[in-house]
């Protein structure tokens, strides 16, 4: 059996929504919702939050979770994950096989989404990293710069990730509209290879970690998810998600 862990990178200093991980949904910090839901996955041997903020680490430990303190200079979540991975391996004197990076902005993450994202890697050794692929349901979401749109090749490898609404509308009545859902399993060695690759122009332009992989000519396999997803990027999103979760 592969030794699979999840790492949730989180920081307070987001420019769009400062303090986001600790913002409360139904009385509980968002990061707490994510942590608890992810750690329910039976595929995982460990779930940890990687953060540069003591406040977040203290909170995670207070609910009985694992937190790893990381540097506050990371530009990308993947870099933070890699640092946490190395620290966890040293502390536990073990080597993990797959590291699932879960962005802390999906408070409704279902453990089933972790299984979906990992599944193709268990069958195909050549797949180094996957992302979940969600359907975009509205034009408003399609145009939202916080929503990262994805176009894929015929094997469902990502071609490009963009904040721009792609593909182009207007030439056909109906276009496929897909978004990145940030459940991102990396093979261990590939995550460590990732942080050695130099940052790339489109990665910086679009502010999308996965672009570094694509620009270096490597593949990111996209896995369609059957779950509805509700990412929180703004206070408005948070209110919306809180409403949905209060009915469950």
């Amino acid at each position: 059996m592969a030794n699979i862990i999840a790492i949730i990178p989180a920081r307070m200093g987001s420019s769009r929504f400062p303090g986001k991980p600790m913002a409360k949904i139904l009385g509980k910090p968002m990061i707490g919702h994510v942590y608890e839901r992810v750690s329910k996955s039976e595929l995982l041997t460990l779930t940890a939050v990687a953060t540069c903020d003591q406040e977040i680490a203290d909170y995670i430990e207070s609910i009985g979770g694992t937190a790893v303190m990381t540097s506050d200079t990371h530009e990308r979540a993947s870099d933070r994950c890699a640092e946490a991975l190395e620290k966890l391996e040293r502390a536990n004197n073990t080597k993990y096989d797959i590291i699932v990076m879960v962005q802390g902005d999906e408070p409704m993450t279902d453990p089933g989404m972790i299984s979906e994202a990992i599944e193709p890697m268990l069958h195909d050794k050549d797949i180094l990293v996957t992302n979940l692929l969600g359907k975009i349901e509205s034009m408003e979401e399609f145009e939202d710069k916080n929503c990262i749109k994805v176009v894929c090749d015929l094997e469902n490898n990502a071609l490009y990730f963009s904040r721009e609404p792609i593909p182009t509308r207007g030439r056909m009545n109906k276009i496929p509209m897909h978004k990145q859902v940030c459940i991102i399993p990396f093979r261990r060695d590939f995550l460590l290879e990732y942080i050695q690759l130099s940052p790339t122009a489109l990665e910086i332009a679009e502010s999308v970690d996965m672009m570094r992989i694509l620009e270096h000519g490597k593949k990111v396999r996209m896995v369609p998810t059957s779950y509805n997803t509700n990412a929180v990027d703004t206070l408005e999103d948070l209110k919306k998600v809180e409403k949905i979760m209060s009915t469950l």
Binding site: D153, L159, Y160, E164, R171
Partner: protein, 254 residues
């Protein structure tokens, strides 16, 4: 010939739709646009044969008048590259490299065509080469006739779009966009593959031939063209192209 490999240049041209009828035969500084393209292609050091491929009798006549070889092709092609393929087959010769040189690029010279051919010839993992130029974000956003392209660290195309790419993110960063110039040398094998490969999704949605290669995992290498060029899709473009050509040839003609 380049390194013993034979090169066919096909210039696909058709009278075109309602947007800009009669496009290939519009006059630019005293010559049909198509003739400018053909004459430029004829300057190539590597092209062994140059043929214009068209479904229109009127274009056939015009080409014969200025001395170009012309191949009459079907009117049913949905993509320019399919027209190029029909012409390639119609030559009944064996070619190693086939260039799709669109008839609406009157400013691309034989020298730049040759640079694209060299790029293809020097990279055996590449199926096709396109030239590109830079365009401001604002102009890129305005003009959906221009095809924008994003590339990886080796300058291989990742995606072609009518929308400007990369995104204008958070409004605080501005980018210039790479814009496709439709001068496209490809290996004969890639052209054979093009008609065999399944039609791709984004090829249709963006209306870009190259997406068929990209979506099927074949490499399309983008090469920057530093020569000022202008593709012609409307009267305004034509006027601008004429000014540019006039500026070049007035001096030369004197």
């Amino acid at each position: 010939m380049i390194n013993g490999k034979s090169v066919l240049v096909v210039i696909p041209a058709r009278m075109g739709g309602y947007r800009f009828p009669n496009k290939p035969l519009r006059m630019i500084y005293g010559k049909e646009m198509l003739r400018w393209v053909w004459e430029h292609a004829s300057q190539s050091q590597y092209a062994d044969e140059i043929a214009i491929a068209t479904p229109n009798e009127e274009i056939v006549k015009a080409c014969e008048a200025f001395g170009a070889k012309v191949i009459l092709t079907s009117d049913n092609h949905r993509r320019g590259t399919e027209r190029v393929y029909e012409a390639y087959k119609a030559t009944e010769k064996k070619w190693d490299i086939v260039v799709n040189f669109q008839g609406d690029e009157p400013l691309v010279t034989g020298e730049w065509l040759d640079k694209a051919i060299v790029e293809l010839e020097s990279n055996s993992d590449v199926s096709c080469v396109n030239l590109y130029k830079w365009m401001s974000y604002n102009e890129s956003e305005r003009d959906q006739n221009e095809v924008k392209v994003v590339v990886d660290v080796q300058s291989n195309a990742m995606y072609f779009s009518r929308n400007p790419l990369p995104a204008l993110w958070l409004g605080d960063k501005k980018f210039e966009c790479r814009v496709e110039i439709c001068v496209m040398p490809m290996t004969a094998q890639a052209l054979e593959n093009f008609v065999l490969l399944p039609n791709a999704y984004y090829e249709e949605i963006e209306s870009v031939d190259m997406m068929r290669f990209v979506e099927n995992g074949l490499k399309v290498r983008m090469l920057e063209c530093t020569l000022p060029v202008k593709s012609v899709d409307c009267q305004e473009d034509l006027d601008e192209a004429e000014k540019m050509i006039e500026a070049i040839y007035k001096v030369k003609d004197k």
